[in-house]
Symmetry: D3
Subunit: 206 residues, 6 copies
């Protein structure tokens, strides 16, 4: 039994990035905790967004969901953000941390990624997930086979459906994009569907 902590800047970041892996952890009996630094009030009603976030957490069956209390679009990389993450790291003592990649055009995402790695400096495994605004130079090294949990991931991400398209207008359905991404990452790894991660830190237990 391992303890897993996933950190995100806004409701839906974690689900888009690593819901498949988190659902696998739950299938394996691991403890899974979520820390969402803001409630995403800059792109929607704060109560609705919190409710969606709790609903997705329930679908994934996570053990607890924490909010960081930071202001949306104003997540900084520094002592304040690090302290919030460290407090949860100290509380749940995770074996594995999932955090957003720093290669992202959204300042909240890259600052969350930087601060999470600072806060997780004693943790043995840190995997950095990709998302809607990830830059093209994201180069994943580690893949997770999410064939068994792809349906759960789709269900969890659909909870936020109305939000996902905010930033990219009506050009593409985020849900379809997430499915396309999973198939592409699977293709790269010789799997059906996959999530892909950059390595923050990874100890391979031979």
């Amino acid at each position: 039994m391992r303890v897993v902590l996933a950190v995100g800047a806004h409701p839906d970041d974690i689900e888009l990035g690593c819901a498949g892996a988190l659902a696998l952890h739950k299938l394996n009996g691991d403890k899974v905790y979520l820390l969402v630094l803001t409630k995403g009030e800059a792109s929607g009603n704060i109560d609705i967004r919190e409710k969606e976030c709790r609903e997705a957490a329930a679908i994934l069956g996570v053990d607890d969901l924490f909010f960081g209390g930071l202001e949306d679009t104003r997540v900084h990389d520094g002592r304040e953000t690090i302290d919030i993450i460290e407090k949860i790291v100290d509380a749940v003592d995770p074996d594995i941390i999932y955090a957003p990649t720093c290669k992202d055009t959204h300042q909240d995402h890259r600052n969350t990624g930087h601060s999470a790695q600072s806060a997780a400096r004693r943790c043995k495994m840190i995997l950095l997930y990709e998302g809607a605004s990830t830059q093209r130079n994201f180069v994943p090294q580690v893949f997770v086979d999410i064939t068994r949990t792809f349906d759960v991931k789709k269900k969890a991400t659909r909870v936020f459906g109305s939000q996902l398209n905010n930033d990219r207008g009506g050009y593409s359905s985020a849900v379809e994009a997430v499915e396309g991404l999973a198939k592409y990452r699977g293709y790269q790894a010789g799997l059906e569907v996959a999530e892909a991660f950059e390595v923050g830190r990874f100890i391979f237990e031979v």
Copy 2:
């Protein structure tokens, strides 16, 4: 009216990588030529593979299809390969060249990419496409909106359907992967479906 040359190592490489862009070029009245360096005899019957290749070329409506006469799995980066490509470059005088990225685990692909760039050193635009064995450090800079030609691309790639899965076992349908990839690249670019390219050389005509 521009002249376009697409170079591939094997039948199906070009279609997977840039069939959507080539079909767009045809819609725009450009001349499109294909140069396939081998007939892919290492993973199939040479006559069937040539026939499939001609069929796909017909679907895309290209102006001519050339074969380079090299031996499958033995495409080298050097004078011989460069000469073959240069001969076609001299003959059709392309404005734009599409070639495989060198970031690929298949030796034929990376050698084709290197030699194409040597042969195309006087050409103003070289775009490097991704494919089934492209490495994870492929970082595209230029995207093409293939919404209008996505159906043609799917049709052209399905011609090779039996071949595509050779390398990756039965884990994923290549056709589905190509569709997933197009949606993901579209997502990155704020489009519905897209093809993505690394820049070999790109002059932006303001």
Copy 3:
């Protein structure tokens, strides 16, 4: 007719980085807007610097020049800077945005680059220009042939002549360096003189 927005941290940044491309846009009948985040008061008299900036804008024939009202040497990457740029993005609705590369030793430049990319997240084309303090790992992907507008660029950059050498002592004339750079970038691209850009986002309209 396209709409173009160029963003810079200080008077003269835009001219050094992309005046040749902007002048081409004007030759082509595009609308061109400039947004300069500070008035560069840290290295000169604020009134003189504003006057020079307006003079250069007139030489380029731009449609409007906006100032962001930030304090020189204190441009941060975050909500405040993003908001200022977004306001102009919303007002002019640009097809193409030119912004400084983030690979720069000057904190104002890299923060302007980051914030501009956040603010421009819905824009289809973002080109990142190089400048006097750009780091050596700037790797341009897109080149613009500025042969027709090189004289205008030289004229526009000479407006700021007294400022340019502030940082590097008397070692080199900035005007000569800009000319050398244009010739070198031209050489790389097989052109006479060129400006070179990293791609923030680039949709190639086949």
Copy 4:
């Protein structure tokens, strides 16, 4: 029980790069095979080098040691090398392949790395080890804790002691360097001693 294949260009490459991990695999009951492409005749007596190689294999307790029959300093990246590796891959059907990184100043090493990745294209896990002539831009992503097998590694590498210093004159003892490296990689990973790998392909089994 997993099957592991380690590929090297010369006797001692594998031991320097991943003897600690291989010894761990043996502790865990995995099958471990070695494929050494040449007998290293360019820097020593061929019989002595083969004998040392067999002695090190015995110390590690590997299940079989194969030689590729290629000529030292003339390992090419191409069909011939790929075929030799593929033959062993087909024979032992490995779950994990260890091969040299391509970022190496020694042509045999980089060609072995390229060809091994081509030959292993169906394998789910490929880890690329570092060695004596690895370039400075080797950036490991995965670490293995070799605290339990460090003594075995030291014993296995000492078998080749006379060879190791050939290339770098008398400046440093290779044995001490290997120990220093293990401590440094351990330090990076928060471990006592470690081996570090670039990821060729890595499926993380959550």
Copy 5:
């Protein structure tokens, strides 16, 4: 006789990163100054840490030690930090500046690295040292042979012994890691023991 300035975020950063090079500078009759931005109060008693810092400076025989007066864990990249460094740069007019690499998981280290490079923009030589929390993508270009000063470096770093292991638990002795690192960097450069640096700026005086 040259003037050297080494900048660090906390007591012990400079010693771990470049004490060997600094001791060489003193052997050669150069002037050496240290600027430590904080007193490291976040991980120890401020008076003890200052005392250790002065003791290490005395072992290295530096000409003066300055403290920047910033708060530990809250070093920002921006005007305030740059001004503090610039003041010392103006005072001692260094030929060579040593500063921490920006590739670091500790926010103070990366911000010190960024600000030092901004402050040192007129200096001809800037070398960026590695440390305990440096990221794996640190790629050194320049090596210094510290064979003659390795003992002094060990003595200077041992002054901080109780601090060094704070962050990585009891997994590894920092002193041993520093020795391992020096041997590994030496091995890379064909030397006995070495310190390795990324180049911020380097003019090679032929």
Copy 6:
């Protein structure tokens, strides 16, 4: 007094890349040797090209000029090329080697760069120069101030004037491009004119 060896694939490669640095070495009393692997017969009369090459060598005042006897456009990376370079390395025992960067679209250049680094594996300083077909991802780390020898460099490169423009049509005068490049590299380094190099290996003698 140091011994310097510059390696090039064709007549004019060395002059374009590092003639300024070589002339400085001669001013300082160093021994300078040139090794040109081919006589460039693919783009000109072999006798004229050899004569030009000897003329440029005389202008630089080098101590000896060796030809490698390889065939133009067919320089491979491998034992044969390495042996040719090693023979000269053994003969002159250089302290510093200048060789072409491997980031080049011309196969002869990149193969020369790879083989030179293999052949020079025991040499303490290897600097990799840029040239006419160098790729855009060349990132120099070390600069040489060629203010004192710029006129000599211009004179030496003009010897090959008729050749230089072969590859890039009439778009730009190579001589002007070399001057532009020197000014740009100077600008980057805070110098008047400079040559820039990637580091193959660099021991900084503090």
